[in-house]
């Protein structure tokens, strides 16, 4: 049993309301930490939703999300620092670069088995990291490209508002797509691909669309993120980001739009909440994951679904 999504105008209004509230945060706190966390939540919400689109809806486990994120970051950084482009031109360019990468991966590997696709996407992400580190003439390698500043947005509050606004727009876009034919087609493909094909749905086309959209969004957030940090270096391709995204998608409940967003908010903060023990921080984080997986196999969304199913059953 699946909950039907809210009608579009209602969710759009809901999202707009949330957006306005989020914009007010810098007035409520002068602490740069909360603004930084807000940026992290916004960024991960988009990245995880992108992964959710590919994995939760289309059923493809992909490790390439971080590659699109990093390519967007490096793309924007290079266009601004080497070619003197304005950031506002570099941002859509970053999206385009990431989309090309997505199409490349998608077109060449979508016919593969699930496992092969996962490994190809993993190898691609690792390869991006290696190239970023070793093509020193282009990327300055491990030394990174520092000094990325967005004139007029140097204050954290401004960067926060920009990132949150872009994130909200992208999430709204995802929501529209998922409530539309694309979303239903993807779910049909995930449930039973041959059947979907027999109904005239071309799985390749829809999966490719899912990957490209996801890649574009990740590229945009990547560009914004590195300008927030003022530096881009090969660590933008770290497996750490992939781990974080997987945690958010799986614990949020793959295939659940709001579940994943909620999980993004929670798990952007959890590693910091665990800083009370700086020695055991990551060990505790691992324990949290293991416990969550043993207790909530379907993620939070799955747990909620079970609960409502149970209530439904007892009512009968």
């Amino acid at each position: 049993m699946r909950r039907r999504p809210l009608p579009l105008p209602a969710s759009a209004a809901g999202i707009a309301a949330i957006w306005l509230v989020l914009l007010c945060v810098p007035w409520l706190t002068a602490s740069e930490y909360w603004l930084d966390t807000g940026i992290a939540i916004a960024t991960f919400a988009v990245l995880s939703t992108g992964l959710n689109l590919i994995y939760g809806y289309a059923g493809l486990l992909s490790f390439a999300q971080v590659a699109f994120f990093g390519l967007g970051g490096y793309g924007a950084a290079l266009l601004v620092t080497r070619l003197g482009w304005s950031f506002w031109l570099a941002l859509p360019a970053a999206a385009i670069i990431a989309t090309w990468a997505g199409l490349l991966i998608g077109y060449s590997s979508l016919r593969l088995s699930r496992h092969a696709f996962a490994i190809v996407s993993l190898s691609f992400a690792l390869l991006c990291g290696i190239v970023a580190r070793d093509w020193v003439a282009l990327t300055r390698g491990s030394m990174g490209i520092p000094g990325l500043s967005l004139p007029g947005f140097d204050a954290p509050a401004h960067m926060y508002r920009l990132t949150v606004t872009v994130a909200v727009i992208l999430l709204l876009g995802f929501h529209v797509l998922l409530s539309s034919r694309l979303g239903r087609a993807l779910q049909a493909i995930k449930l039973n691909e041959p059947l979907a094909q027999s109904q005239g749905i071309d799985p390749l086309r829809y999966k490719l669309l899912a990957i490209s959209v996801s890649a574009a969004a990740s590229g945009v957030m990547g560009a914004l993120f590195v300008f927030h940090l003022t530096i881009v270096d090969p660590s933008v391709f770290d497996f750490y980001y992939t781990e974080t995204m997987l945690i958010m998608v799986i614990l949020g409940g793959a295939g659940s739009f709001w579940g994943v967003i909620a999980a993004s908010a929670v798990f952007s903060i959890v590693p910091d909440l665990l800083r009370f023990s700086s020695d055991l921080r990551l060990t505790l984080y691992g324990l949290v994951l293991v416990a969550a997986m043993l207790l909530f196999p379907g993620g939070f969304a799955g747990m909620l679904r079970q609960r409502s199913l149970l209530r439904w059953k007892t009512r009968l």
């Binding site: 092969a116 490994i119 993993l122 070793d134 997987l246």
Partner: protein, 291 residues
């Protein structure tokens, strides 16, 4: 001089490949049979190595005794691992296994850093710096032993899978768990055995390589991604496939690194993996637990 250079590179590559194979063997069995992605694989390898370090320095066990002891302990750990975490997973619980083993990997690696610090440790053996020379080529003794141990482990696994009843059960299970159930194969006990053997192999790899490389809690992460790629490219569950792929990867890396900048060798490995998978998505040698 040029002749021995190429041969030396090939020999080095063979040894590196066999090392990859030893590390990947356990993963291939668990992944192939249970469909479980074990992200903690590198950490079991690390635990095997750390245990060997303590066995040699604190308990003063000899080289061969340590390897045997650590392998047995790893097997026991496998029992716990299966019962505590894996017994509730099914092959369709792909994502749960990812997150679960990811969490376990974090706990083991960071717990290790907390308990033992990252100071690299050397496991002393009487053979640490000895080498044999074969016609102008050098081979350190410990690596020769590694070759031997890996070959022995592979042969043992081969015999188990092809000539014993339990091995047949494993192969049957990997092909179709429903059909296996119909002929009376108990999924749980076969799966448990596979996990025991898989973890024992990781422990064996750790113990064998502990004297070769420096031992510290993050030593598993360097091999984990390559191990996954090797397993998939070799064909899921195909032990021989994984072994051959591992050796080919080792030789490829060695040859490229020997003639081009080293950093190209790492990229070459991953590029080769991508290319192979694009042409043969089921892996080079096909799926299914077999030898």
């Amino acid at each position: 001089m040029a002749d021995t250079y190429l041969l030396q590179l090939l020999l080095n590559g063979l040894v590196i490949g066999v090392i990859y194979a030893l590390i990947a063997m356990g993963l291939s069995l668990i992944f192939g049979l249970l469909g479980i992605v074990n992200f903690a694989h590198g950490e079991f390898y690390m635990l095997g190595a750390m245990l060997s370090f303590f066995a040699v320095t604190d308990l003063h066990l000899g080289y061969w005794t340590t390897i045997l002891a650590v392998t047995l302990v790893a097997g026991c750990v496998g029992v716990f691992f299966y019962h505590l975490f894996l017994s509730s997973l099914r092959a369709a619980d792909f994502e749960r296994s990812i997150l679960l083993t990811l969490g376990i990997s974090m706990v083991l690696q960071n717990g290790g850093i907390y308990l033992w610090t990252v100071t690299p440790r050397i496991v002393p053996t009487p053979y640490s710096y000895a080498a044999v020379t074969l016609g102008g080529m050098q081979l350190p003794v410990l690596r020769l032993f590694t070759l031997g141990i890996a070959t022995a482990a592979f042969l043992a696994l081969y015999l188990l899978l092809s000539h014993t009843l339990v091995g047949k059960a494993m192969r049957g299970l990997s092909q179709s768990s429903d059909a296996a159930a119909m002929v009376g194969i108990d999924h749980r006990s076969v799966a448990r055995l596979a996990v025991i053997i898989g973890i024992a192999l990781s422990g064996l790899a750790g113990a064998t390589l502990a004297p070769v490389y420096s031992v510290q809690p993050t030593m598993g992460s360097a091999f984990v991604f390559k191990a996954f790629a090797i397993v998939i490219i070799g064909g899921l569950g195909n032990i021989a496939g994984a072994a051959i792929t591992a050796i080919m990867l080792g030789i490829l890396e060695s040859l490229i690194g020997g003639f081009f900048p080293l950093t190209l060798a790492d990229s070459a490995g991953f590029i080769a993996m991508i290319v192979v998978l694009l042409f043969k998505p089921e892996g080079l040698f096909g799926r299914g637990v077999r030898v």
